[in-house]
């Protein structure tokens, strides 16, 4: 009898131990995943003239205009997770990961931000892709200190600026009268898709490749300078100003 009781006890112990180990294993597994990638989400009420200012360190940023008086910020944070402390300053939503994470190592943060389509957008990152779409406002600015692609689609803004060092830049939007549009890269391709009837004067400079394609905009009002390294042009009255500089890449104008 004592031997039988010992066997039963031993079997129960094994079952309990197995269950306990399973719980510990799954807890460890899920907690590990949680520390590897976290999510951040926050909503702010916003007026039509709201301005979004974002300074990221590493990661992608996607800004989408929508027909709501609200700003929705969502982010996926890789470990070590960054602190994100947006500030709502009377018409300005300010997110600055450099300020919020000074002197601490952080992982990439991938933002998806929805803003009223009339919002002014000013986004910047050190490394990573930037994308802005569906914006009709006074300002769209996208700046990458080092490398990453910039994609600006369905943009109707008076002032547009896109700058990076390595990476492609693509702009698809309208050109407003009197507007200022500046695109600059050191290495990559820059492509601008703008309406045929847009009124603008243009200066495109590609000193290294001399590859400046005007497409359907090539007409008699263009002037090639410096052995083709720079093209000046004036189209439909020349109301807006477009400046494109690509140190070691190509420039292309596409009509739409």
């Amino acid at each position: 009898m004592p031997l039988r009781r010992e066997n039963v006890f031993s079997r129960q112990t094994v079952v309990k131990t197995t269950m306990l180990l399973s719980v510990v294993f799954f807890f460890a597994l899920f907690s590990g995943e949680a520390s590897a990638q976290k999510r951040f989400s926050k909503n702010y009420p916003a007026g039509q003239n709201v301005r979004l200012r974002l300074m990221n360190r590493t990661g992608t940023v996607t800004v989408i205009g929508w027909n709501k008086a609200q700003i929705n910020i969502s982010a996926e944070l890789e470990a070590p997770a960054a602190n994100i402390v947006p500030q709502n300053l009377s018409g300005l939503i300010d997110i600055n990961l450099l300020r919020d994470n000074q002197d601490r190592e952080i992982g990439s943060v991938n933002f998806t931000i929805r803003v009223p389509y009339t919002a002014m957008v000013d986004i910047e990152t050190r490394i990573g892709n930037l994308s802005v779409t569906n914006i009709t406002s006074a300002l769209v600015r996208a700046h990458i200190t080092s490398e990453g692609a910039i994609t600006l689609t369905n943009i109707e803004a008076t002032n547009v600026a896109a700058e990076n060092t390595i990476g492609d830049i693509f702009f698809d939007g309208t050109i407003r009268e009197g507007g200022t549009y500046r695109f600059s890269s050191s290495k990559g391709s820059i492509a601008l898709r703008i309406p045929f009837n847009a009124s603008f004067k243009m200066m495109a400079t590609a000193p290294s490749t001399r590859n400046i394609s005007l497409g359907s905009f090539a007409n008699a009002d263009t002037n090639y300078l410096g052995d083709g390294r720079r093209v000046l042009g004036k189209f439909n009255g020349g109301s807006a100003t477009i400046t494109v500089t690509n140190q070691r890449g190509t420039i292309a104008f596409l009509g739409r």
Binding site: L98, R126, I127, T145, T165, S184, S186, S208
Partner: protein, 238 residues
């Protein structure tokens, strides 16, 4: 006896110190000389007043006394020296040649001052399509450049380069101190981008060494130096 002798002896007469003959002569003169008689009268009143011990000496005819004193003072005042004759009026008649030369000098000076004032006051926008170059210099600017009053585009570029190099040196030192704290992705990205910029700097420097007048390359060199400075500055914060 004349008046002068009489006036000298009046005092002695009043003190009874004259001999009889002299006293008679003085009295005789006083009898017919009104001027000396008045002097004698004044002197007598003064002596009497002193003898009486009165504090206030009042001459018998003070008004007449003051009138005489005034006349004596006026007679002793020397006449003012004659003023020098006014200088002859200078002739301002100038020739047409002088007048033209003066107008020309004034025009040149005022133009130069206006030029520098406008040049310092109105800074051309950095994104202006017509950035300053030797090709866009006016004749007046070229002349001023020749005589060293304004810097040439090449000199301006060299000055900007020196300023940029100083800033780059500063930010590079900061990057070097921070670099060890970056992760591998950041280090590699920084090195890749800096290399691309350095290649452009090298290309434009080579072109400019062969053709210093190539303003487009000068402009691009400015731009890539600016990019380099911005890259270093932004990564120095990480």
């Amino acid at each position: 006896m004349n008046c002068s002798d009489c006036k000298e002896l009046i005092g002695a007469l009043m003190d009874n110190e004259l001999e009889a003959t002299q006293a008679a002569a003085v009295r005789e003169h006083l009898a017919f000389c009104a001027e000396c008689a008045v002097v004698c009268e004044d002197l007598t009143s003064i002596v009497d007043a002193c003898k009486n011990g009165s504090d206030e000496i009042v001459p018998p005819n003070s008004k007449a006394l003051w009138l005489r004193i005034n006349n004596m003072i006026e007679s002793e005042v020397k006449p003012a020296p004659a003023l020098p004759p006014p200088p002859a009026r200078r002739s301002w008649g100038i020739s047409i040649l002088r007048f033209s030369a003066a107008v020309l000098v004034i025009a040149v000076i005022s133009s130069t001052v206006t030029y520098f004032a406008l040049r310092n006051y109105i800074q051309p926008p950095t994104d202006d399509f017509t950035s300053r170059s030797a090709a866009t210099q006016t004749t007046f600017e070229k002349v001023l450049s020749k005589i060293g009053l304004v810097e040439t585009p090449q000199q301006a570029r060299e000055r900007r380069m020196k300023e940029r190099e100083a800033a780059i040196e500063y930010w590079n030192a900061r990057v070097m101190t921070r670099r060890s704290q970056w992760d591998r992705v950041t280090r590699e990205a920084f090195d890749r981008n800096l290399q691309v910029i350095e290649e452009s700097v090298k290309d434009y420097t080579t072109i400019l060494s062969q053709d210093p007048e190539d303003e487009l390359s000068g402009e691009m060199l400015d731009a890539v130096m600016n990019d380099k400075m911005n890259l270093l500055r932004d990564f120095a914060d990480l």
